[in-house]
């Protein structure tokens, strides 16, 4: 279950600031891409424009040819795009299991039911499946607010997975993690991508990780597309290296 995502000429301004400057990108169905760029380059804004959190001033977002530009967030989720957040956005009082059962219920449009009781038994199985997939089964009964940072990020991704998305957007899945944890996380993300066969786009700062897993890399700077291509091309691209002066050292030292 996968789809092709195409954004064309996306423009978004906030007062005098151009957060998205005529962005045109194409993500092939089933691909695994990374979006990189210095802080403030507009990566999260791009995600927000795709998922409906922000409405573009101009431009279109096409999902398998279907125009979803300007639709509200809930509608875009139903269309098949799900997202995980830079700072894990969870339901603090719900346990991992409850959160996922709820997400599954929501995906199956059962939220309006008044005469049955939560949790619906048919949703529990799928929730447990997803927990297995991301490796959170051991923490099933843990309250979200008390999870470790890494587990919170995993739960965030799991919630998005419960939407059975055709396109999954991960905003800095390894943010706030130590080196080993980051490797584990991105490996898990890659396995998820293989298993679920969806189009996966992730924002990342660690070049090591990007070059290890991404099939293609899109570089943003000042809200515009600076370069795109296979990891090796990008690595060697002088403009990209210049943009990352300082940050590039981490990638180069690997």
């Amino acid at each position: 279950m996968t789809a092709r995502l195409t954004v064309t000429g996306l423009i978004k301004r906030f007062g005098g600031v151009v957060a998205a400057d005529n962005i045109t990108l194409d993500f092939a169905a089933g691909s695994l891409s990374a979006v990189i760029g210095p802080n403030g380059a507009g990566k999260t804004t791009l995600f927000n424009l795709i998922t409906g959190r922000l409405k573009p001033d101009r431009g279109t977002v096409l999902l398998d040819g279907r125009d979803i530009t300007g639709l509200d967030e809930a509608a875009i989720v139903r269309a098949g795009i799900a997202r995980a957040f830079q700072v894990a956005s969870l339901f603090p009082r719900f346990t991992v299991e409850q959160s996922l059962v709820y997400a599954v219920q929501s995906h199956r449009r059962q939220n309006h039911l008044l005469f049955r009781r939560f949790p619906l038994s048919e949703d529990g199985q799928r929730a447990r499946q997803i927990m297995e997939l991301v490796g959170l089964s051991a923490s099933a009964k843990q309250v979200s607010a008390h999870l470790s940072h890494g587990d919170q990020k995993l739960l965030d991704i799991a919630l998005a997975l419960a939407m059975e998305p055709q396109v999954l957007l991960l905003d800095e899945p390894t943010a706030g993690m130590g080196r080993d944890e980051r490797q584990q996380m991105i490996e898990r993300v890659r396995q998820l991508w293989v298993h679920e066969k969806m189009t996966l786009i992730f924002i990342e700062h660690d070049m090591d990780i990007v070059f290890r897993v991404a099939q293609s890399v899109r570089v943003l700077r000042y809200g515009a597309v600076l370069a795109e291509g296979a990891p090796q091309e990008i690595r060697a691209n002088p403009a990209v290296v210049a943009a990352y002066l300082g940050l590039g050292r981490r990638g180069a030292a690997s």
């Binding site: 809930a74 989720v77 009082r93 709820y102 219920q105 309006h112 939560f118």
Partner: protein, 328 residues
């Protein structure tokens, strides 16, 4: 994961209702029946408000508008004659639901503080209309002429014992219905909205629609409480829709506990008890209640049942953060 059984709870509610009614009727004590009736009315009212505050995270300051509107609508319908009590009951509730849809549609799209304040303003508007439309409502004298009570299905509400049983059955049934709503997938959607409306949206939940639905449900049950009140005092008065009514309800919720289903009922009981005791010694019950409220808010930072649950879970009594309550 534990699912609380609807059947079991329905049975428990029925048994509790039976126990309370038979006990009170057997003892035949009017003061006891009075306390139970007042607890039923105010407990139900506070419980209905907690659908919004505790479960959906919507702080409404104007909930009494539905309490008052329901009471007046019912009273006026009955005074119009030719209407049976169940029919008037149903119409008054539906009318209040309509009011809730209108008010809710206007208020829900606003952020927290504006929402709170606008609900308060609407309540004062309803109150102003009640006071101002003297020819219809009797103004500040209240609805004069009492509430006619034609017998229906063999139930004679003019008889205090019949009324007592009727009120208890309605109250217990309402409490169970609220419970069912809150434990259903619908109710968990409300909780999810309270915990993180943003993420709920990212899971495909049309948040505004569910908030409006919660608002209407809450208004409907407040109206039920209002109707019971009008029957209890044989009339309807402007202060049913006054801000102090809403304030008291919030006080009760705070006292008993936001995060536990029965919290508002416990809070209502404690509040009524406190109030009755205080007024026996002094007319300055506002002063004492205010001090109690301060202690609860600043000291405990949670309601009584919240604290009990926390103690039972072995967690520290005072939470690090005020807003992260015990698990769902």
């Amino acid at each position: 994961m534990m699912r609380r059984s609807a059947l079991l709870e329905a049975a428990l509610t029925a048994v509790a209702c039976l126990a309370v009614t038979t006990l009170c009727l057997a003892l035949g004590s009017k003061p006891l029946m009075d306390i139970v009736l007042r607890l039923a009315i105010f407990g139900l009212f506070a419980l209905s408000l907690n659908i919004l505050i505790g479960y959906t995270g919507l702080i409404s300051f104007g909930h009494a508008m539905f309490f008052g509107f329901g009471a007046y609508a019912f009273g006026l319908l009955m005074q119009a004659r030719g209407v049976s009590i169940p029919v008037a009951f149903a119409i008054a509730v539906l009318a209040t639901a309509a009011l809730a849809v209108v008010v809710g549609a206007l208020c829900i799209r606003l952020t927290a503080i504006y929402f709170a304040f606008l609900t308060l303003a609407f309540q004062m508007l309803v109150h102003a209309i009640i006071l101002g439309w003297v020819s219809l409502t009797g103004g500040d004298q209240g609805l004069r002429g009492g509430i006619p009570r034609p017998v229906f299905l063999g139930v004679n509400l003019a008889d205090p014992r019949h009324f007592f049983v009727f009120a208890c059955v309605v109250a217990f049934a309402s409490i169970f219905l609220i419970r069912q709503i809150l434990e259903a997938p619908f109710g968990y959607t409300l909780r999810v909205i309270r915990d993180n409306a943003d993420r709920a949206r990212a899971l495909g939940v049309p948040v505004q629609r569910y908030k409006l639905a919660a608002f209407v449900f809450a208004g409907v049950f407040a109206a039920v409480a209002g109707i019971l009140m009008s029957l209890y005092v044989s009339g309807a008065y402007p202060n049913f829709a006054f801000w102090t009514q809403s304030g008291d309800a919030i006080f009760m919720i705070m006292l008993g506990g936001i995060s536990v289903f029965l919290g508002p009922i416990v809070g209502a009981a404690v509040f009524l008890l406190l109030n009755d005791t205080i007024t026996r010694f002094t007319e300055y019950n506002g002063l004492v209640l205010g001090i109690v409220l301060l202690c609860v808010v600043l000291g405990l930072r949670a309601g009584l049942l919240d604290v009990v649950i926390r103690l039972m879970a072995g967690a520290p009594v005072r939470p690090a953060s005020v807003t992260t309550e015990t698990p769902v």
